[in-house]
Amino acid sequence: MLKTFQKGGVHPHENKLSANKPIQPIDPPAKIFIPLSQSLGAPSKPVVKKGDEVKAGDILAIGEAFISSNIHSPVSGKIEKIDDYFDVSGYRKPAIFIEVTGREWNESVDLSDELKEDIILDGASIIQKVKELGIVGLGGATFPTHVKLMVPQGKKAELLIINGVECEPYLTSDHRLMLEKPREIITGTRILMKALGVTKAIIGIENNKPDAINLLSKHASSYPGIEVCALKVKYPQGGEKQLIQALTGREVPSGKLPIEVGCIVQNVGTTFAVYQAIQKNKPLVERVVTVTGTNVLNPSNFLVKIGTPVSVLLEKAGWQPEKSGKVIAGGPMMGKALLNVEVPIVKGTSGILVLNREESFRFKVQPCIRCAKCVSACPMGLEPYYLARVSEIEKYDLAENGAILDCIECGSCQYICPSARPLLDHIRLGKLKVNENIRSRNQ
């Protein structure tokens, strides 16, 4: 019997069209722009100015706040300007625009493919370097990794969990990375274990990726502290709290972080980035991005420089604009629909999914028939129909009592709803308002 999380969950079609496509590096276009807000928390502060020459790997902006991260240049070139661009939602956000002149790297970066397994740095220096080189969570939430590695006083980390679940349909970037860089990921895992001072790590992978499970198990076998665990396929298993429960049976208390139950969760992509930072001195300037969709001619996994516009990737994969309705940054369950395709790939972009025009529209909303599917699908044990309803009629105190802030916005409720009700739309708004209310109460 395979492990999985206890409550709720759904089974969308997997549609992993690009699972067999090797990771393919692609060149950046002549001009790229790097948003200054690429991680959770405060935007980074630029340390370059117009006209400066930079090399690939040079620092562009620093994260000054506690929750913030450094940003490096993915290319060598000239700073054209620091200006606003329209982000995926159509808001103005600051970015550094770079004219690409070449591919020269900062000399300190080791560009060889040679595997380096010996870890020289001690724990504190590892965390310091992870911070300097701008590593953030690549699973999508982009939480600065160094903050996650600093265990708060009074808490103790016992277990490192590496998230190789990739439960979103269509996405295959983590899967490919596990197949192509298994030893780097195992080394990255050991680095993270050292930084946290833990002796045990579990790599959780869903059972629809048996090749990755076998490969990582093989490479992990020489390290007794690292275990690879196959999981039953169920969405949203990649959710931090769900994954911890699936692997350990522990429940992270409401409103608390995983460290409360002694766990730290890192995505496999992040683990690879940590390997590159610590062993190769390479900052986070590129990532694997799946570009996929049923009308995309060559669904692919690309190794992409941060700042490359989405349109470049779409052209490369052979999308058919006339047949396309939605372009989504991320997966179909939690991804964000793009307003235009000229936005850049950022650290948190795990995939670009193109939906056909026909599948881009929502179904007609019908009355709630109280079927309770949303209640049984909710992985957090909430009552989505109720939270959506009280948010809709602006009874935010009831929403707060109904634990609306526990919602992880996985979308299972809206996915399963036979009446196609926009449950998550209302719940998102409700969360926003409840957070506002809490802030004004605390003032």
Binding site: K326, I369, P379, I416
Partner: protein, 329 residues
């Protein structure tokens, strides 16, 4: 290039729709309905057609002329109500009484409360009880299963009491259970007994229930807690005095308990939302059914039991919340 479409996530939707649920219920009801046609002949088909047609028509007319809203007859819910109503009345019921039942179900119980999803009570059950009170003779004149296949087209078949009916009247006449001749378990199991046209065949209803569970249209909580409670409660009574109280297997197989537990109490709109709420609801239905059957004036208590528990659903939903992930007390 076409402008891009944007909306919040999720961007894909599961296969289940109201339509697929309603037609799933219809498919699940088919075995029991076919058993009814087998035992009661062409009259059962006529009652069903009248019931479905009038339910759909009333919904259409009320939406078009009274509420002036877009019609929803395509969602299949009126068909389900019509089919359930037909399966809960005797196949000998005059057609115009069936039409009145449909008007009560759709007009009063469903549309007056705001249409699909808004009704507090199960439309088909309220209609059945309305007919039972308005036309007590027609609603308790039960055709008996056809003796010979030649009589399939015969509308004036032999009538007689249901097993629960004969139990009640003969107990009232002072007889003990040993003296009362009740149908065999085999007849109860296959449905070779008098009763409403869709309630007689236990095996056909159970097949339908398994299909509903397989399609994930219902969960096990209500049928299991309902049937188990009725079994335990009637079992205790039977152990106390087997001369006075029928055995639990008889109670489960006879009358409307199975159609009630599998199809009527599980009506999505009028049952609770959480697992524990559903179990409590089922227990309430089970206790009330046996109380009415054994101590009440009516031989059968399923409709009343479910309707009474329907009224408790808002309270049950308030009291029984799902267990939250990582809940801090």
């Amino acid at each position: 290039m076409n402008p891009l479409i944007v909306s919040g996530s999720p961007h894909i939707h599961g296969e289940m729709t109201i339509k697929s649920i309603m037609w799933g219920v219809v498919i699940a009801l088919l075995p029991a309905w076919l058993a009814g046609v087998w035992f009661f002949g062409i009259a059962a088909v006529i009652v069903t057609l009248v019931s479905i047609a009038s339910c759909v028509l009333f919904e259409f007319l009320i939406q078009k002329f009274v509420l002036k809203q877009e019609t929803t007859i395509n969602d299949g819910s009126a068909v389900v109500t019509g089919l359930l109503l037909a399966m809960n009345v005797p196949s000998s019921l005059p057609w115009w009484q069936v039409v009145i039942g449909s008007l009560v179900a759709i007009g009063i119980v469903k549309m007056a409360f705001g249409g699909l999803g808004k009704n507090l009570f199960n439309p088909a059950l309220v209609a059945r009880v309305f007919l039972l009170i308005s036309f007590p003779v027609a609603m308790t004149t039960w055709p008996l299963p056809i003796e010979s296949r030649a009589n399939v087209f015969n509308f004036d078949g032999v009538t007689g009491p249901t097993p629960l009916g004969s139990l009640k009247t003969q107990l009232a006449m002072g007889q003990t259970l040993a003296q009362i001749k009740l149908p065999s378990y085999t007849d109860l199991f296959w449905g070779n007994i008098g009763g409403s046209l869709g309630e007689v065949s236990a095996i056909a209803l159970i097949i339908g229930g398994i299909y509903l569970l397989y399609r994930k249209i219902i969960t096990w909580h209500i049928p299991v807690s309902y049937i188990l409670t009725a079994f335990i409660f009637s079992g205790i009574l039977w152990l106390v005095n087997p001369n006075r109280y029928a055995d639990p297997i008889f109670h489960i197989l006879a009358g409307g308990l199975l159609i009630g537990a599998i199809f009527m109490a599980t009506d999505l709109v009028t049952s609770p939302m959480t697992a524990w709420g559903k179990i409590i609801f089922g227990i309430g239905c089970g206790v009330l059914t046996i109380v009415i059957r054994v101590f009440g004036a009516y031989p059968e208590g399923v409709s009343f039991a479910i309707l009474i528990m329907n009224a408790f659903v808002p309270l049950i939903d308030r009291a029984f919340k799902p267990k939250r992930f990582g809940e801090v007390k």
